[in-house]
Amino acid sequence: MPTITYIDHDGTERPIEAKNGETVMETAIKNSVPGIDADCGGACACATCHVYVDEAYMEKVGQPEEMEQSMLDFAENVQANSRLSCQIQVSDELDGLRVTTPESQH
């Protein structure tokens, strides 16, 4: 099972064993990782599952689709490595992925 490490805005790291096929958002919610709200439950409708992807994994994680990108354009504190975590599917390839959660999702 791939491991994903969630880092909150003040630096606390939480390595979590993730399930293939679930999303980075679901993995966080099910394991009580704070910092991700996910109000719409992964429908790409709310932008409250924003994370920053570690630069080293940007390529493996891939590019956001148009819908996600245009949601991100309007999120608070977006950076070049911003993603909506409900749109990233966990796979073996992402083993070791590190994502940082923003201070606030609103």
Partner: protein, 413 residues
């Protein structure tokens, strides 16, 4: 009333709002007893996918749950499932459980949600006539979602139309009967109504507006026909009712709490009893930004009121209110709604309806009050902020797609 010393908190209803209250109470540092009583068999789960990806079979059941069973254990939340609360005794500060026994409370949250409005016609109890509210309903519906089966959906609201889209994609023959002259008449403008009517017709759904269901006809207790007021008989293997909901207010009403089309709560989600809160579909709440009260049926509302109640109980500052929002997925179309359009006096369309990428902005006295954004997230997100800040934006500017939503938002700020 300060409840921060509460040691016993009971939540009635394990849906979106109930689940939120439990999570927020623990997050805000509540350490006392926490009991969630729910009359469904399942732990709290998301309803939106029930008429979308889950109904279609694209999302496994395990992915509907807000939290796994272990979370409730780890957080010392006692869950009493398949168990109804029968009565609230305010003088004793006690609730009575269906299967016997009582629970004492220092603070109580009513999060009983709503139930589908029953079809008010003869034959509504025939076999193969369904509602859509919970997991158990989908369990009954799914085996009948067979290619070629003739499905009649009564009511062209969001849930009915979403189910129509799923059924078409699964190869059923689908008719939608709507009593009003247009789809979504209760919730949106004619622009959006005609867009969705056309979309469904394009996908082969027979959308009949102004069609009143008179009764359902069957043989040996099994549905065979939907009969219209005009006398027309439509052959049907299955009927799905989507004619709106009724808030579950009876417990509150019987306990003497003020109820008017919903349990009346204040800006902290508190009822007239300082120890009792209510959250979600079952409430009528202040809508400060719209200077009125109203009952909202949305995930956003259930989450927001859940947080408000938990914060009030724990003596935390009231969380900032979000602009009301909602979404609907049909075929490859995502609708995102921000704000409440009721009472608008002007509609501005931005984008290209033909290209299925546009937004309908609703203005009142020149101020933006709501938007329906079709495959247009920037219009949705930018509007959430514009609506709440009360900024005035000229309709010519909103219309002009050569000015980006970013620029519009920046100009208005």
């Amino acid at each position: 009333m300060d409840l921060s010393a509460a040691q016993k908190i009971v939540i009635i209803g394990g849906g979106q709002a109930g689940a939120q209250v439990v999570q927020s109470l623990r997050q805000f540092g509540y350490e006392g007893d926490l009991v969630l009583v729910g009359d469904e068999a399942a732990l709290p789960y998301q309803r939106p996918p029930l008429s979308k990806a889950y109904m279609k079979g694209e999302l496994g059941e395990d992915r509907l749950y807000f939290k796994p069973a272990a979370w409730y254990e780890d957080n010392k939340v006692e869950t009493l499932l398949s168990q109804r609360v029968e009565k609230i005794d305010r003088a004793r500060r006690q609730v009575t459980l269906e299967h016997g026994g009582h629970l004492d409370y220092d603070a109580l949250i009513i999060a009983t949600g709503s139930r589908p409005r029953p079809l008010p016609v003869e034959g509504a109890d025939l076999e193969n006539v369904f509602d859509l509210r919970g997991l158990a309903d989908v369990e009954h519906i799914q085996p009948k979602m067979i290619p070629g089966h003739r499905l009649v959906i009564v009511g062209a609201g969001y849930i009915g139309l979403e189910a129509a889209a799923v059924a078409r994609q699964l190869g059923l023959e689908v008719r939608v009967l709507e009593m009003e002259q247009r789809a979504l008449a209760r919730v949106t403008s004619p622009v959006i109504s005609s867009f969705y009517e056309a979309l469904h017709m394009e996908h082969g759904v027979d959308v009949r507006c102004g069609a009143r269901l008179a009764r359902l006809k069957g043989e040996d207790g099994k549905l065979t026909h939907a009969v219209l007021a005009s006398g027309e008989e439509i052959e049907a293997d299955m009927v799905l009712a989507g004619i709106g909901i009724v808030p579950n207010v009876e417990l509150a009403e019987d306990a003497g709490l003020p109820v008017k089309n919903g349990i009346i709560v204040d800006e902290d989600a508190r009822t007239s009893d300082p120890r009792i809160f209510a959250a979600g579909d079952c409430t009528v709440r202040p809508l400060a930004h719209y200077a009125r009260t109203g009952r909202l049926e949305s995930v956003h509302n259930a989450i927001e009121q859940g947080k408000l109640a938990a914060a009030a109980i724990m003596g935390k500052p009231r969380p900032a209110l979000d602009c009301p929002w909602f979404w609907s997925d049909q075929y490859d179309i995502k609708l995102q709604i921000a704000g409440l359009s009721m009472g608008y006096d002007e509609i501005v369309v931005r984008g290209d309806i033909e290209a299925k990428k546009f937004a309908a902005f609703y203005l009142k006295n020149g101020l933006l009050i709501a938007v329906d954004a079709i495959n247009s997230p920037p219009e949705f997100i930018a509007s959430k902020r514009l609506i709440m800040s009360g900024a005035s934006v000229a309709s010519e500017t909103l219309k002009d797609t050569s000015i980006s939503m970013k620029e519009i938002a920046a100009q208005a700020a």
